[in-house]
């Protein structure tokens, strides 16, 4: 007899909704999480530990990853991520990266589910339609809004999400007065700014308290009140409360074993004392984040899976996607505004919550053909003072120090505010962007992930188009010292695609229920399932899809 009904590997946005659904239905669930289990009162706004020393992430010396990049037709260059600018480790904690997310929760649009049939194939890209439609996922987006807690206000814009409810279950957060500036400036220019939905409670719910607006230390920091909709504070807490869910932290799963028939038979993990432990269940769910899920599958060879579990068609790890990210920023110096405006700028409220999706689809000027664009999201600069000061000191012309640096610090902190925008674009999946196993070993002697990154040229074209529009807004606001980068680079915190779902078992790893085509008791519910990512952060969609798949698993039990 199996130890549990369901074994879930990973406790983030993909794993926790499944845990809650199955536990609430009376099934015995275990969640194996590699990281530690921090409670609310252990999250502090500690810039040194959290962002500079990355103490929630694995130590890259003990758990390296390898990245391969290529530029300008040269050979592939391999480096350890510890030595590189690329850091693909997400948070290793119960609740995963949702503990530290900014919680901007945008839905995908209906056409995001059918990019290939709507806009056509793009040479050099492996775009495929999703095997489900927006209408099938919509009820689950609605459930996440209530169960995780999403605050916002529907204002209507040309690319407004199709909704089954008129508005969000929680009112929007308090906003910095600059939000109003953005509204007026954009509307004057014929644009349609809207309120960004946030997975942040604006009133108490159950044991979770509403946001206390902690001086802006939201994104990249844990939440001490429970307001942030982490999977830990929401679904996992509810799963545990049923009495049917056990969470085991410090459990490094290193193999998913399979039997002679090809079904998964057990999961093996190292506990915190490096003892090997075996767990058995009827159903297995992987949700380790797309890179590590692919790695685990590739390591999990078996009698029927010589190339890795569920990898009969060789597609595990392939079609790795990110969000194609770009950004811009500006200063709003007090000296350039009147007294009333300065008083507004000095507000300590941390959230701007404004975005533009006027160009979520736009006509390419050369081909005069509608194509996929993206989202421009505005916010205040990250609040950490050390990183801000380090950035001020390092300029293209060299290091600044002494009186000159101190003058810059004074101006930055006392005489201006700083606005930024992020651009989210579709990362086009392609044959040169994938995850495989490297010969480098980690502290457990396991082969590490090798992440090959190749950016399709279209990513940057879209990035340039959108960044220019973002810069236009900053200029209209009176922003000075405008900086931007428009490369459409991979976002290291938004990763997906490595076990895409689809109707055809020859061209996909999972079926429409996110169950392996080959392995009847294996499901994958992190972002690995996504054939394309949309031009928004993935987390809301991961949560929603995990709820959808949980219902499918429930039916199959």
């Amino acid at each position: 007899m199996a130890d549990y009904d369901v074994c879930i590997v990973g406790s983030g946005a993909g794993g926790a909704p499944v845990a809650k659904t199955l536990a609430a239905a009376g099934y015995k669930v275990v969640v194996l999480e590699k990281g530690r289990w921090l409670k609310e009162n252990q999250f502090f706004k500690d810039e040194i530990a959290v962002t500079l020393r990355s103490e929630y992430q694995p130590d890259p010396q003990k758990e390296p990853q390898v990245v391969e990049t290529k530029s300008h037709g040269r050979k592939w260059r391999r480096e350890l991520t510890g030595d590189s600018i690329w850091k693909f480790w997400n948070v290793s904690l119960v609740g995963g990266a949702t503990n530290l997310m900014g919680g901007s929760f945008y839905r995908l649009k209906p056409d995001d589910f059918r990019l290939k049939s709507k806009f056509g194939a793009i040479a050099g890209a492996n775009i495929e339609d999703w095997p489900i439609s927006y209408d099938e996922l919509e009820p689950y987006y609605t459930r996440v809004e209530t169960e995780v807690g999403v605050s916002g206000r529907v204002v209507g814009h040309p690319n407004q999400d199709k909704r089954s409810t008129p508005d969000f279950p929680f009112p929007p957060t308090l906003e910095h007065p600059v939000s109003g500036w953005i509204d007026r400036t954009c509307q004057k220019n014929g644009l349609h700014p809207f309120v960004v939905p946030r997975a942040i409670l604006t009133r108490n719910q159950g044991t979770r308290n509403q946001c206390t607006y902690s001086a802006g230390f939201c994104a990249r920091y844990g939440c001490a009140t429970g307001a942030k909709g982490s999977s830990r504070a929401s679904f996992l807490a509810e799963a545990i409360a049923t009495g049917n869910c056990e969470v085991i932290p410090n459990a490094m799963v290193y193999k998913v074993e399979s039997d002679a028939s090809g079904k998964v038979s057990s999961v093996l993990y190292f506990d915190q004392n490096n003892n090997k432990v075996k767990v058995t269940a009827r159903i297995y769910v992987l949700a380790c984040q797309a890179i590590e899920t692919a790695r685990l599958l590739l390591m999990s060879t078996g009698p029927k899976h010589p190339n890795g579990l569920a990898n009969g068609n060789g597609l595990v790890g392939k079609n790795l996607i990110f969000s194609a990210a770009s950004r811009g920023s500006c200063d709003l110096p007090y000296g350039s505004f009147n007294e009333n405006q300065v008083a507004e700028l000095k507000s300590r409220l941390p959230f701007i919550n404004r975005a533009l999706q006027d160009w979520y689809f736009y006509a390419d000027s050369k081909k005069n053909k509608l194509q996929k664009g993206g989202t421009i999201s505005f916010g205040l600069a990250a609040p950490g003072p050390i990183a801000a000061a380090q950035n001020l000191a390092t300029t293209p012309d060299g290091l600044i120090w002494g009186r000159e640096l101190k003058e810059k610090l004074e101006h930055y902190f006392k005489k201006s505010r700083h606005l930024h925008f992020e651009v989210f674009g579709d990362w086009l999946p392609n044959k040169n962007c994938f995850v495989s196993l490297d010969n480098q070993k980690d502290q457990w002697g396991l082969p590490v992930s090798k992440i090959r990154i190749y950016r399709h040229a279209q990513n940057q074209k879209v990035a340039r188009f959108l960044v220019k529009r973002g810069v236009d807004v900053l200029q209209s606001l009176g922003g000075e010292n405008i900086n931007f980068h428009d490369y459409g680079n991979p976002s290291t915190n938004l990763v997906g695609g490595t076990a895409r779902f689809g109707k055809n078992s020859k061209t996909s790893v999972l079926n429409r229920d996110c169950r392996s085509h080959e392995v009847e008791n294996l499901y994958i519910t992190d972002a690995s399932f996504m054939p394309t990512g949309g031009s928004v952060p993935f987390t809301f969609t991961i949560f929603a899809n995990a709820l959808r798949v949980a219902d499918k698993i429930l039916k199959a039990m």
Binding site: K45, I48, L52, E55, A215, P385, G398, L399
Partner: protein, 192 residues
Amino acid sequence: MSQISLKRRKFLILSASGAVVGGLSWLFFRPRPLRCPELLEPAPKGGVFNRREKLTVTATMECLLPSEPESPGALDVNAMAYLEKTLTAPQMAQKLNDMLLGARRLDDFARGFGVCNFFELQSKEKQNQVLKVFQRNKANRAWMTLLLGFSLEAYLGDPVYGGNPKGLVWSWLNFVPGFPRPKTLGAGLLNG
């Protein structure tokens, strides 16, 4: 705890000298007039710098973030104590290596200006002039950036880490920290 042995210090001195001779000799405008003793002294117990290294690094920090009547500097935020404590962590072994190497290069570089060690340059103005030339070399600039990075952590980090006493720099800059503030070092994770 990370410490550098005498044998390792000797290796670093040779490495630094090679870098100076190989990469920077053109910056020396006069022949070396001094005979500077190569004293290999270890760091005291609990520290990571020996006496001379500490004086040179401290002098550099005081140039990077000077103490002024209307605003604090590295001296006011216990930056050296913070740096030494930070560099004792085992995972900082490489950065400690880099720090000692760079300090040695700076002392060697200062010999072109008539002193055996950087901290012996008579004025802050002179020290800054030397640093301006010193950092034209990429490796030296990287070292200064590393040192400035740590100095800014002491300057603007939470006082629980030993720098920025009572939020002195935060007060000067009207900065409001997030809450809750850390009560212990290392996000509560260092000790499990």
